[in-house]
């Protein structure tokens, strides 16, 4: 009953097998080998166009480097107030970009409200040089709050960004969960909706370390190989990331795993609601559930072996909590089982 995070899970057997099969032999290092070109071609296929793909070590690296590629002097990056880049990367985007700032914009849980984005950007429209200047807009899909942007919502934010000649970045640490929720194609959820750069994450969904930065316009990526290198993010034995991605993207493993995780989240949400001892301020679209429970309920679940975290209310949350109530986060993954959910149900029943 591990709901602490999807990165507490291990590696999907298919990915593990691919790693083992890649172990022997020799291959050209630093991303110039046969594996790398094969996996690049796979990304082109999946995204229905030529994309520039760069493997990196972590999701934070993917975000920080993608955003650094859009950095400007005095630059301001707009994100949701709950965005990982703003709250959970220890200033990685600021560090990698030479001090660009990340500015939270309010909205529904995990999302940017387009009206609020326009208002926030208007401040940087013709004012003095002291204010700095906009550099990029970043959204997360699925969001950190378990919600998922619709394609129209993405397109609306893209339009606002593009009207100011800014790129739209998507943090896809849980890309597959978002995609499974929307039921559209990868192309539709990204460049067809106006996304320019994507942090494509495989780690949380069954790889052990498979993260990549994608540029939908490869011409924008010309300096990126040097940015990745000087950041110590170019693997020498790059083929092992390639092998993970190949297994991940083959036979729908990624989507099937994400669908499973999302389904488990829905079951968990239902169980929590049905129990009467927890309530959900919003329904999960993907694989994260945020129940509000009393500390007694939380303790009962912990005693039964469930692992999960207490969580800060999202900025601007307008519900009321009793003094004894707290919000909590439960994350499901490819490794969550129906038995896990059943045990939660039992524990809730007391």
């Amino acid at each position: 009953m591990i709901f602490a995070s999807d990165n507490w899970a291990g590696v999907h057997p298919a990915v593990s097998a691919a790693l083992s099969e890649t172990a022997g032999g020799f291959d050209s290092a630093y991303g110039s080998g046969a594996w790398d070109s094969r996996v690049s071609a796979l990304f082109n296929l999946i995204f229905e166009r030529d994309v520039a793909v760069f493997f990196v070590a972590t999701g934070t690296a993917a975000n920080a480097l993608a955003l650094a590629s859009a950095a400007r002097p005095g630059g301001v990056i707009f994100s949701s107030t709950e965005a990982h880049i703003l709250t959970d990367e220890a200033g990685g985007p600021e560090f990698m970009s030479g001090g660009n700032r990340v500015r939270g914009v309010s909205g529904p849980p995990g999302k940017i409200n387009p009206v609020a984005l326009k208002a926030a950007m208007a401040h940087f429209d013709g004012g003095p040089v002291h204010y700095g200047q906009p550099a990029a807009v970043s959204i997360t899909q699925a969001t950190e709050m378990g919600t998922v942007y619709s394609r129209d919502e993405i397109a609306a934010l893209a339009d606002i960004a593009h009207a100011r000649s800014l790129p739209l970045h998507m943090d896809g640490a849980r890309f597959a969960n978002g995609l499974a929720a929307l039921g559209c194609t990868p192309a539709e959820m990204t460049w067809k909706s106006g996304v320019d750069m994507l942090s494509f994450g495989g780690t949380k969904n069954g790889c052990w370390c498979a993260e990549a930065v994608l540029f939908f316009d490869p011409a924008k990526a010309k300096e990126f190989p040097f940015m990745r290198m000087r950041a110590g993010q170019l693997f020498s034995k790059s083929r092992f990331v390639g092998a993970q991605f190949e297994a991940y993207l083959t036979d729908n493993l990624w989507l099937n795993s994400a669908r499973h995780a999302n389904a488990m989240a829905r079951q968990l949400a239902d169980a929590l609601t049905a129990s009467g001892s927890a309530r959900l301020p919003w329904r999960p679209d993907a694989n994260e559930v945020f129940p509000i429970m009393s500390t007694a309920t939380a303790k009962r679940l912990k005693n039964a072996g469930a692992v999960f975290y207490e969580w800060d209310l999202p900025e601007g949350f307008d519900g009321e909590l009793d003094e004894d109530e707290r919000m909590h986060r439960f994350v499901t993954s490819f490794a969550t089982t129906e038995a896990d959910i059943a045990r939660v149900e039992t524990a809730l029943r007391g």
Copy 2:
């Protein structure tokens, strides 16, 4: 007959097996799990003292972050003119350290001459603020030129660094090869000889991505967790690096692999010298051989299937090359076989 680099090799079967065995189950993320503590303890054992160990993604990251932890405003880092940090990291140490400079100091192939180091540092002794100030000394063991510092040589450089209150950093991308060459203990080659920080590399010697920064005085590492995090170098599923290191450091796998690679280099050196069509400006101590050969000889080897690179002469090299001669680099690894060497011999014979 792949001699292009030791990172063209794959993964040692024992390391691969360990990765597979770690695949299942759940563990706490971001380096706080059971694996991490176990591997930490293993490092303490091997180095005969409490060390602070931080896994990172690449050797460049290890070097750049270790040196960044010693950065000072206007700082100058002294290294060999052939050091990887100076020539092959695309400015990684400069980037990570907020613009500290790496300054090459002359010496024997791959090494710093202590007299030259003292002279270079003397320039920064009481001069105007315009010069900047020394920040660190960095050596590579085994060096980029296939040579190995003796313990006395390390201690002599450490003394010079410490006299100026500077840390001595060791780039140990080929740590095991150096250790196998010296035949001493890890403690003797590092902190007992005055080394303060170590980039400990396992990737080139049979892991797929297992690199770490070690601080021999853990009190100096207090800010390092944040440095690693903001650089996007903290793996979420950190246990997979731990699993590699555990296999690597168990049953002498690391030393046996390095001894094998070094032995292959010696055999290759002998074969080259004996052939009469190549000469070695210096004997290899570790697993890299730098023969000077005619382009015709090089072509013959390539036609026979050998993969290796032409290489720049080290700065200050005082030998003479015929117009048709070039220096080349051959790197051996755990995966090099005696059959590979035999085929080189055959090809040399024409």
Copy 3:
């Protein structure tokens, strides 16, 4: 009737005369001359202890470098939501500090509320490395909203900062105006109340470019000379800053100028209030007045020759504005005259 900013004013005649008198002769460059030591001594005298003084070119440089000296990996600097460092320095502190973040904390106009500060800092207390860590607290005196912290208010914030081993920085771009308002000594308003670093500004109060960073504990300033040099902030003919400061700090010129500016602000505030066509959401303590007026009133004043800016409401402002109303900022200086105020009165009367 220039109320646009106190930096639209020129140079006080006494400062100008001092510059002229310094013009001839030779002196050691880069802050090592006779002038520099004399002015250093003057700062020691005024602050009643040995302080480390560093001249820089601008207030933004003073703030950014002072804060950079306190930077930590993943560091967070806490300031008022209206702080110049957060809103008007184009990311200077972020840039100079290698990506430390500035985080606005709510409070009365221009100030940090100590309860809000404690709450904001509590988030960084024992959480995961992902959050980063606190680096400094920065307050502005007089604030950007024309208010002035009492000594007790400063001490309360200092206690919170020091409890976390963080330095308290004071942005003193309008230091003299704050001091004149409080009527205490420079020592009392700074280190005796817990301030560790001060951006000491003379430019807005009658110099042409005289800004300095002061460390009340000179031992904390050991690396600062290199930080200033590499930022291109070390003047070669440093004595000309020294000459300005010497004139500024002699015969109470600085305090008399500030008292005059503050008095003009009070007269202006009275005139605005008395007119019935403007209201003040808070009384000015120093030399900035923020009337809420209709656009018609503002236009009348502009037609009469008054220069001033429309201004954003401070974050969290809880008053109500009519649709036609706007907040505006009027800044007085040593060069503002009673005649200027009288002309505003006349214009307000219509």
Copy 4:
């Protein structure tokens, strides 16, 4: 007899008078005032085209920011081994550019040899990403060694830079001295010879702080206002820099001052050579003289009141020095008098 540096001199009376005359009244701050546009127009006139002009506080700031505007990830800036940016700015260009590296290229005293530049750049031509990539070429005019590039020499280096799409930057801390030596127009010495960016210095030649960055193609300067702002290099009372430049550029003050300084250097060179107790390894083209003298001779001059520095031999200097001999640097300025030279002559005679 101050020959320590041209920045030990004070301010030319005409510049001082201009500062005094600017003291009163009000003007728009931050470079948007009437003075600023007037001085901009003056620069256009002098350089015979529209240039983008940005005042900054110091020569180091001008160099570091100009080069930062050309920075690339993994970037390498090529300069003379004696360049101020390499040896005397405490890593300012590295800091401001996010870690671009400055690489010394050999040549005649203070200059880059075009053949050596081509060779140095060839290393970065198609190699692995590990090497980084070229970012800019920077020359100093007049050089740090008192020599002056001919227009053909500048054009040859510009051609090499432009062939790689790199900008040519000129550090003109002693621009007027170079110009006076060549006897050509400012346009001829800069953009007509291929210079793209210029650090234009007035401080060493009679201003107190008047430095500017010039872009000969203003379209390349679009991001520069934000770079200057976040570096704390935008003066609020910018008109005082404007006033200095206006006086400096009026009635040939700048060229007359430089001609005088250069003439004094030639007289000093003649006096040193004629004395028989000093020799010049190269003739001064501008206002710096580098005599080789015995320590006894140097002592005699110091006892007579001359102030000057012992100086490191330029890298690659091929002359021989006796054990007792040292190189020294003498700098003349607008404030050097014939009487100063006469006193040197007398002292040399013993």
